[in-house]
Symmetry: C2
Subunit: 422 residues, 2 copies
């Protein structure tokens, strides 16, 4: 149960629900339903009561702040039928926290140390309000945590989950393996794996489309990770056989992290030249820890004068072919490779919109250039759908895919050369 | 009611709930609660029944796909007590869609044209499954839409909302004005506006902390926008007086969009030199439509050799002071300003982590350089908390804030110079 009027007004996307649900399912605790309710003590109490009537317990976040709008403590006290009482150790911890931060604790803050009598306190080292677990006479429990994710997440991991696992027992958890694909539509993917999709019960298969990729999830219910692995591995092999090279990574991997690893393993360096993507390709690579092992740098040449001065794109090309052209993309890639002193360079120049379209060069048109270690340059043209943000994001993803392809094609040659030299 | 086992497993953050809630509240339709339930026909029906017992209607998304896991149609038929029947126009639209995409429609897809008898069909020009509105004998309604946001959003806006407004009547809507602040903590902000916070009933004030900013929301319940404006304006003025220059924009504005507008209005140009932020500052500026009017380009000098070759940072500085130092940040800003030919340049170099920390230079330490039109350069050192992603995001935001400050300080001088020249 996530509590907060901002959720019902749609001012805040509820990320706590998914975070908690995931943590619970990974620990073998079934989630029957999720509810959001506003900062209203009556409705909050009714909701929590309903949940306890249908499930063994409820986990709630939000509404533990110091204001009168924060009603969770009171609602829970009603549901479990006890009084709120001051929890002195929590009060002292709060006072110490305020002193440490050099602030004066207001009278309102004292309310945050109120806990339903007989409850278990969940300490909050990352914020003011402690969480707690309260019990109804029939044994149903309500566990309450702050709504701020930075406070909730550690409290869940360090305090609540161990208690829940102990209490609810892990009757087999759900283990997930995620295959990330790029460059293939959801329907095409569906066509390739359709028969596996329909025939598989445990593990189950699910597809989730994102703006820059489609994920195929394999979910196994198993007693432990060994059993899960035995269930997942054969299905993963079948899926990979059908999807082919469009699978670029698994689980926590991203296209950028896979690239950084591949470049680093081969001892190759990479640089970028960007126009419409404006630093986004470089940003994606630098977001990967350890990117410095292969990524040297990038040049964002948004203005044409910079394309000439820093990337050496001839003015004649810009004048005659335009900034969005195969010739410019090629010259940008070549210029970046030479001036950054890297093995590979990728370049992107296009019309992100909403303005800037010309006859023959609509919004979404993007030219890519790719410079190889031997100095050769390839170009490619794409037309991406959507608005400025979509076009730019798709162009970033596509540039990373081009680097991945180039590395794959180059693979054997590059290696054999290296081997020959050493 | 959002329907889908992926929500209860936490594999997908539910963004539909917030989108729909926001649209409803903006049209004066109260949302009492939100629920998520898995792909289980029993639980789904129980949930929808509960909702209809407590509210005038339910809006559901998800579970309209072609597979046996998609149970929404069946659950709704049970709840409203009617049969499902084939809706021929929807079936034909689906067949045409498949033909157009060059695919064969499977027998399963036919199920997607089943609609509870007596229901209203909501056409889906962006996907396969139509939505529908079904009615229980007591008049309670269930409106169902696909779970895919790209299909749900237009269906909501074009078909469902007009129907809802007509049926439920708009008894005053909630109008929101959002003030964005950066560089001030939530608790400090709370201290400044505390008394307004507590005393205001309509409009209400809410604070929402994000990674890169804290928003102050003013929410007025009003009959129309004129009345809302009359309620919001005086409170906004009071809030601005208390918060001061830390308010950088309102509603849909971002720090980057405000900067692009300010630079453009003054006819000034800007460039960036990035190390740990790796293109992220440039990316933030380029994300703004029309950025080309002031943003010329950027140099991501991730490797030290690039700091020297493309930004002219002396090797001696890098050797003696290190890449993360005031001297390097200053040289990067100066180099970017000169080589990009811009009025202002901002530079960031720091330790993003998880590795790269050295004695005296911990993870999170970032040096900024700022080059002014007259050639002067300022530097500043910050220590940001969090992991690689947090440090990088905070550094990006801080760089944008420095540009904003510089522009504000420069303001009168720059203008008087311009005026003097023209």
């Amino acid at each position: 149960v996530t509590i907060g009027t901002e959720l019902l007004l749609g001012h805040q996307v509820d990320t706590n629900a998914a975070h908690i649900a995931r943590a619970l399912s990974e620990h073998g605790i079934d989630v029957f339903a999720h509810h959001s309710v506003g900062d209203n003590v009556e409705r909050c109490a009714v909701m929590l009561n309903d949940v306890l009537d249908r499930a063994g317990g409820a986990i709630a976040t939000g509404g533990l702040g110091p204001t009168v709008d924060d009603v969770t403590r009171e609602a829970v006290a009603r549901v479990v039928g006890t009084e709120l009482e001051m929890h002195e150790p929590s009060l002292r911890a709060m006072e110490e926290r305020f002193t440490r931060l050099g602030r004066v604790m207001s009278e309102n803050n004292r309310r945050q140390a109120l806990i339903p009598r007989g409850g278990i306190v969940l300490e909050n080292p990352h914020g003011t309000a402690p969480g707690f677990i309260a019990f109804r006479a029939d044994g149903g429990f309500v566990a309450c945590m702050p709504g701020v994710p930075a406070e909730m997440k550690p409290m869940l991991a360090e305090r609540l989950l161990p208690w829940l696992v102990e209490r609810c027992g892990a009757r087999g958890a759900i283990y997930t393996r995620t295959l990330h694909t790029a460059g293939v539509s959801e329907s095409e993917l569906d066509r390739r794996i359709e028969t596996l999709f329909r025939s598989s019960e445990n593990p189950k298969i699910a597809m989730l489309a994102h703006r820059d990729r489609v994920d195929v999830k394999i979910m196994a219910k198993a007693e432990d990770s060994t059993q899960a692995q035995a269930l997942i591995a054969p299905l993963e092999a079948q899926l990979r056989e059908r999807i082919g090279a469009d699978v670029y990574g698994v689980d926590g991997e991203t296209l950028a992290s896979v690239l950084v690893r591949s470049f680093t393993e081969r001892g190759l360096t990479v640089g970028v030249a960007e126009s419409l993507t404006g630093g986004g390709i470089a940003d994606a690579l630098v977001s990967v820890p350890g990117a410095s092992a292969c990524f040297r740098g990038g040049i964002t040449a948004y203005d044409n004068t910079v394309k000439t001065s820093l990337l050496g794109v001839e003015e004649a090309i810009l004048r005659e072919q335009g900034a969005v052209s195969a010739e410019t993309a090629a010259a940008m890639a070549r210029g970046a490779r030479e001036r950054l002193g890297v093995d590979f360079a990728v370049a992107a120049t296009g019309v992100a919109g909403p303005t800037g379209a010309t006859p023959g060069k609509p919004v979404g048109l993007v030219w890519f250039g790719l410079a190889f270690p031997n100095g050769a340059v390839d170009t490619q043209c794409m037309r991406f759908p959507g608005e400025r943000g979509d076009v730019r994001q798709r162009a970033i993803t596509h540039a990373l895919r081009l680097l991945r392809q180039a590395l794959a094609e180059q693979g054997s040659t590059a290696f054999s050369q290296d081997t020959a030299i050493s």
